[in-house]
Symmetry: C2
Subunit: 159 residues, 2 copies
């Protein structure tokens, strides 16, 4: 399974739990050392995007706040919060799947890694498995809007 396929599997689990389906994995020396699913609703945590969860888990596992040499795979273009965290963690390479013109902060909006004040910039590869990730999100929001949803309380109030 490719690293992005692993991130997509994590995203599917998040969606099954009623969270916006985004998943991330941290890779060091060819091995997945941490995974992260979007957990904002489950954890009552406005910071619990998939990337933040994965970065925190990886850093705790390695016993350092720096993930130099590690790569992050995530199924959606990171927002400003997550792009900032990626810079703080010193991630070497960022691979993301779907582009996010509304909330993304890597190729859209503030384009954070192109800002002169950014203190670390990873290599960035966007659009890996883009179709699969976008389809997962599209299906989730289609189901969310559907009146036939069985348990609306399990779904997020906002994206």
């Amino acid at each position: 399974m490719s690293f992005m396929a692993a991130a997509l599997a994590v995203a599917e689990d998040a969606g099954a739990a009623g969270e916006v389906p985004v998943g991330a994995v941290v890779v060091q020396a060819g091995q997945i050392i941490a995974t992260g699913a979007n957990r904002m609703l489950r954890d009552h945590d406005p910071t619990a995007h998939a990337e933040i969860v994965a970065l925190r888990t990886a850093a705790r596992a390695l016993g350092t706040m720096r993930l130099s040499g590690c790569d992050l795979y995530v199924t959606l273009e990171p927002c400003a919060m997550c792009a900032g965290a990626i810079a703080h963690a010193r991630i070497a390479r960022l691979y993301f799947a779907a582009f996010d013109p509304k909330g993304g902060a890597v190729e859209h909006g503030p384009c954070l890694f192109q800002q002169p004040t950014i203190h670390h910039t990873p290599e960035v590869y966007g659009g890996i498995s883009e179709t699969a990730a976008a389809e997962l999100l599209r299906n989730f929001f289609r189901q969310k809007r559907s009146p036939a949803v069985k348990n609306p309380d399990a779904l997020p109030r906002t994206a």
Copy 2:
């Protein structure tokens, strides 16, 4: 004690523990419901800025990922990660002390709350108790650079 004085006290505690001295408090209806100190080194957590710690603690206490109607007081201008988290948490008013031309993302760099794609913008009041907060940071970094530091292992490897 004013809310910013409370945030400064938290920042002093962080500095005493060898962390860059930044502190934050979340206020709801005139009461402090959460505090957060910078804990990046202690927790091996690249996301553990004072603001993130305070927001997570407040959200967990209230049992919701949205802190609508809550205010955040922090001793340093938030970075992009923290400004993004403040938007996700729907903080009503942001009060910060020292300005941060190098790492700040509110009045400097990407000026995140002025970006057209930002989905929530708090009221922003910068420069509250600016002198005290800046002095705390200056003293910390002066001591860090000093060869007379008694316990260099307790100090952060990087800012």
